[in-house]
Symmetry: D2
Subunit: 327 residues, 4 copies
C-alpha cells in the first residue's frame, strides 16, 4: 500500500450554519485560529482554502505563514463561485456575460494563488450553475458557456490543475453538471491536460453512483481524478458526515480502487461537523480511513483482486466479514 | 366549494440564506417592511410569525399594529425551537432537563402571544429533536420526553391549539417525529383536545407520503388537521418551491381532499423564494392554488367522488385531462 | 446476550424471478427440495411458509413431516394476499366485499394452519392494498376496511398472533399501510392483544426509517414487535440483499436494540438471492448477523448504553471502530 | 409544430407480471392478439417488438403480416438481453467471453430483423450488465467490454441504428451504464454514426435527471437522440405509469424540447399497465401527450423560447398556468 496524505477543508474547524441556524451551531473563528486547530489533528498534513473568503492577494503571505507555522500545506484553492449573492443566477455558465467574466476572473485569480501557495490545484464547483423551475433554462447554451469558461481558465495557467467537483443538487435544485458522466463529458469536450475531476464521495452516494466505479471511470479516462473529498450520508442528501460513519462497505471498496488505480492525490475531508468539535471529527475521520486501509492491507490487494475476478458475492462478503469481524 | 383564506410565512418576504450563501440571496429587511410587502399580495389575508425572531412580549403591540395596518391577521405563532445554537442537541425532547424547560417555556410564551394576537395556534416543529449518528440516541426516552413536553404545553393554555409539523429530515439528518404516522401516534398518546397536526405538503412529498391520504388520516382521527403549509419539491428534499410548480396532480388531489374533509383552516404558504421576489412568488403561489380549485369546482366535487369510487385509473386521468386541457 | 434463533423464508432456497426474467434466474424446485436445502444451513432452525403457495389443509401433514425431517420448525405462515391476480385491486382493504371476505378467509385459514404447525404467528402484509394513480382511492374507507378486517381475523383465533408487515411501495406504487407509524396507528386502533408488527429492516431502510428507532417504538407500545425480517438495500428500493452487506452500522445498532428491548422472537431472513446459491446466501447472512452480535458482546451492552447516553457522535464512532478494526 | 407519430411497446397489450404475481395480473395473450389490440388504439402507428420473445427468423414474415394487417409498422426491435437466465451475470459486457459472443450475436440478429421489418433501429438496454454487491466487479474491464461489443454490433450493419437505453437500476441493483452522462461517454468513445441514445423519460425522472436537459445534451452531441420511451413515476422507481399522470410540468418541458431540437423519431410508450386495460391505457397516454402538445402550440414555441431567455421562474409558471388553467 502506498503512503497517503490527509487534507481537510478548513471550514471543518470553523463555524457551520444552515438555513435555519444562520449564525451557526458554534462560535465564529478567525482563519488563523482555524488553521491552528487543523494543525492539532494527528496525520493531517494539508488544508483547502476558499479564495476570497479565506485567502486573497492581500493576505496571501500572511495566510501562508500561518499554514507553515501549523506544519501544514495548502492542497486546494477554491474559487469562490458559490458563497455570495452575486452568483445567484449562475457563475461560469451564467447567461449574463459580465457575471461569467467575473467568474472566470475569480478562477484565474484562485489558480494564481494556488500556484503561489504550492497547491497547483483549484476546485471548480458549479454550485450555482443550475436552476429550480421548468422553462427557465436554455440547457444547451448553459453547457456551451460552461465548456467555454473552463477552456478559458485552463489556458490561463497550464501549471495549475483545474478539478471539477460535481453534485446533483444543492444549493440549486438542479445542477447543469451534476453527475460523474456529465462532468467527464465536459472534461472530454474541453480537452485540456490540466482539466480533471474531483470526486466528493458523499455526492456520489446521494446521486446513486457507485464511488468505486466513479474512480475506475476517471482512471480509464487517463488519470483524470485530481482530488477527492471524503464524507458520508444516508444516500438522500449531502449530509456531510464523518466518512464511513454510514457506508463502511462502500468506503472499503472505494479505498481499494483508489489504491488499485494508483491515485496519488490527497485524501481530503469535506465534512460539516455542525454539532461536533472540528478537531475531534477530523481526527475520527482519519482514524476510520486509516483503519479501513489497514484492513485492506491485511487482506491483501491481490487477494481482493482475485476475489473480484470470481464475481461471487458470497466469496466477496465472506472475505470482508472474516477480515473485519473474525472467522 | 367553501371560501378559503390564504396565509404565508412572513419569511417569504425577507431574505433567505442557505449554508453556502450565509448572508442570503437578497437584502435583509425589517419585520415592518416584510409585513408591508405581505400586505401587497392580492388575496393574502394572514401571516405566520416566529416567536423570538419576529415577535416577543416587548414588541407585541407594535407588531400587531403593523399587521393590522397591512390589512392582515396573524395566523400562527411559531415557538422558536430551531433557529439558535442553544437547540443544537434538541429542544422539547432534549435529554437535558434545563433545555427542555427552556423549550416548553418558549412554547408557552408563543401560545400566550398567539392568543393575544388572535391566532390561537402555534406550530411546534421538532426540527432540532433528532440525530445524525448511530449510537447517540435513546429513542424510547426521546419519545417519552417529547410526549411529556407536549402534554405540558397543551395544558398550559387550552384555548390555544398546538399543531405538530413533521418532516423526515433537515436540519437533523434524522428526526424523532418525522412522518404523519409518528406524529399521529404522539397526538393519540398525549390525547389533548388542543393537540393536532400541521401538514407541510412538501414534507409529505419528499417523505414519500401521499398528501391526500395524510389529510384523510387526520380527518379520520377527528379533525386533527389544524393547519397546512403549501410548497413543492422534486420528492428528494425540502426544496420549498412554489406549490404545484412541480406536482400538479398531487396538488389537485390534496385540494380536493381538503375540501371534501371540510378543512376550515388557513391555506398557508411556506416557500423559500431564494432567488425570486417574495411578493411575486406568493402571488403566483396563490394564483395556482386558486386556479386548481376552480378546476375542481368546474369538474364538480360529486363527479370527482363518483370517479374515485370507480377505482379506474383511466377514468380518473381522463377526467383531469379533459377539464384541464380540453377534450 | 440472549440465545437467538434464525429462521428464513423458504423462497430463499427456490427460484426467484422478476418482471423481466419471468421464469426466474434459477431452476424451479419442489417445496420438499427447498425444505431439504434449508436444513443444510448451519444455525438455521426455522422456516416461513406461504399459505396456498406452499402449504394448505391438504398437504399440511406432509409438509410438516418434511420440515421435521429437515430438523426445522415452521416460524410463520403467510396468508397469500399478494401472489395471485385476484388481489390486483386489494385484499383485506379492498372495496369489493367478496374480495375482502375471501381475504379474511385466507388469513383465518393461515392462522389455523399456523397453530397446527406450532408457529402461532401469521404475517399479514397489505402488499396489494394500495394504489397507483391519483383519484382512485377513498383513503378513509380503505383504512376503515383494513382495521375492520384485522379485528375480524384477530378475533378468529386469539392463540395465534397476527403481525403486520409494512413497506412504502411494491408491488403497488403506494401502500395504504406503508410505514411503521401507520401500522402502529392501526395496531392501536384495532387494539387486540394478538395484533402486532413485523419489521422488515430493508423496508425500514428504503422508507428512510431508522430501524433501531422502529424497534424502540414497538417496545414502547408494549412489546408489539412480533417478528423480524433481515435483508439489506441501497435505501432506494427493496433490493432484498444479504443483511449488512450494505449497511453495517445500521445493523449493529438494530441488533443492539433487539437485544436491549428483550426481543425474543425469530431472526428471520427475507432475502432474494436472484443470482446467488440460496444455501450459501442464507449461511453468509447468518455469519454476518452472528459476527455483529459477537462484536456487540465484545464491546458490552452496558458500555454501549453508557456511550449512547453521552450523545457524543465521536465517542460512539470510536467505540465501533476500535472494536471492529482495532485501536 | 411538426407532425409526430406514436408507437408502443407491444407488451402494453399483453400480460404483465412482477416478482410476486409471477403469472401476471391479466391473462396471457398471443402476439397476434396483442398486435390486434395495438391496432385498435387511435393514433397509434407503430409497435416495438422483442427479438426472440416476439420475433425471430422463423416467424418474421408471419409477424410482419400481422403488423401490416393491424395498420401498424415496427419501430424498434429489442435484442433480448434481459429476459432469460442466461444473462444473469451480464450480456454485452459480461466477463464470460462466450456470453458476450452470444449477446453480440443476438444484437446482430435483431439488427438484421429490424432492417427487414423496416424499423432500422434496435434498442440496446444493458439491463443485466451490472452488479449487486461490492467487490464483484472490475468496473474498468466491464466498460471496455461494453464499448468493444457496441463497436462490433454497430459495424455489423451500418444501415441499422443502435440506440442505448439507460437506467440507474433494475433488474440489477446497479448498472454499469445507468445515466445519460455515462451512455453519452460510451457513444463518444465508440464513435460510430449509427450509435446513439434512447431516453426513457421515466428512467430519467427516477435517476434525478431533468429529461429536457437530457434531450438538449443529445442534440448538442449531434442529433444523438434516436428514440424515446414515454412513461411516468414518483421519482423513486421505474413505476412505468401513464406519461404525465404524475409529472405534468416535466412533460410539457420535455415535449417542448423534443420539438425545439427537431427530434423526428417516434413518441413511443413504454408503460406497464399491470392493472389497467392495455388499449385504454395506451389511448389515455396518447391523449395526454397530444393535449400537452396542443397546449404548447397554443402558447407558441417562440413565446416559450422568449420566456426561457428571461430566466424568470414567476413568468415561466404564469405562462403555463394561464394557458392550462385560465387567467
Amino acid at each position: 500500500m502506498r503512503e497517503i496524505k490527509f487534507s481537510s477543508g478548513i471550514h471543518v474547524f470553523g463555524n457551520t450554519s444552515d438555513r435555519f441556524v444562520k449564525d451557526g451551531y458554534k462560535e465564529d473563528k478567525s482563519l488563523k485560529e482555524m488553521i491552528g486547530l487543523a494543525g492539532q489533528v494527528p496525520d493531517l498534513e494539508g488544508i483547502e482554502l476558499v479564495e476570497g473568503w479565506h485567502v486573497s492577494t492581500d493576505n496571501l503571505k500572511e495566510v501562508s505563514g500561518w499554514v507553515n507555522e501549523a506544519g501544514l500545506v495548502v492542497t486546494v484553492v477554491h474559487p469562490d463561485l458559490w458563497t455570495t449573492k452575486k452568483w445567484a443566477s449562475g457563475a461560469l455558465a451564467a447567461s449574463d456575460k459580465k457575471t461569467r467574466e467575473q467568474a472566470t476572473g475569480v478562477v484565474k485569480n484562485a489558480m494564481d494563488m494556488s500556484e503561489q501557495l504550492g497547491a497547483n490545484l483549484v476546485d471548480v464547483w458549479f454550485g450555482q450553475d443550475g436552476w429550480e423551475y421548468a422553462f427557465t433554462q436554455d440547457y444547451m447554451k448553459a453547457w456551451d458557456l460552461g465548456a467555454e469558461a473552463l477552456a478559458m481558465v485552463c489556458d490561463h495557467n497550464p501549471n495549475v490543475r483545474v478539478g471539477i467537483e460535481y453534485k446533483i443538487k444543492e444549493p440549486r435544485v438542479h445542477m447543469h453538471f451534476g453527475t460523474l458522466g456529465k462532468v467527464m463529458l465536459l472534461v472530454n469536450e474541453v480537452n485540456r491536460p490540466n482539466l480533471g475531476i474531483i470526486i466528493d464521495f458523499g455526492h456520489a452516494f446521494f446521486g446513486y453512483e457507485n464511488a468505486a466505479q466513479a474512480i475506475a471511470i476517471c482512471k480509464r479516462a487517463g488519470n483524470k481524478l485530481f482530488h477527492t473529498h471524503f464524507n458520508d450520508n444516508y444516500r438522500m442528501w449531502d449530509d456531510d458526515m464523518i466518512p464511513s460513519s454510514v457506508n463502511i462497505i462502500d468506503y472499503i471498496e472505494l479505498l481499494y480502487w483508489l489504491e488499485l488505480t494508483g491515485y496519488d492525490g490527497w485524501y481530503s475531508l469535506d465534512i460539516f461537523p455542525y454539532r461536533e468539535d472540528g478537531v475531534r471529527a477530523a481526527n475520527e475521520s482519519i482514524r476510520w480511513l486509516k483503519s479501513l486501509r489497514t484492513l485492506i492491507a491485511k487482506i491483501g490487494m491481490e487477494k481482493i483482486q482475485r476475489t473480484i475476478k470470481q464475481e461471487d458475492a458470497i466469496e466477496a462478503l465472506a472475505l470482508i466479514r472474516e477480515a473485519m469481524l473474525g472467522g
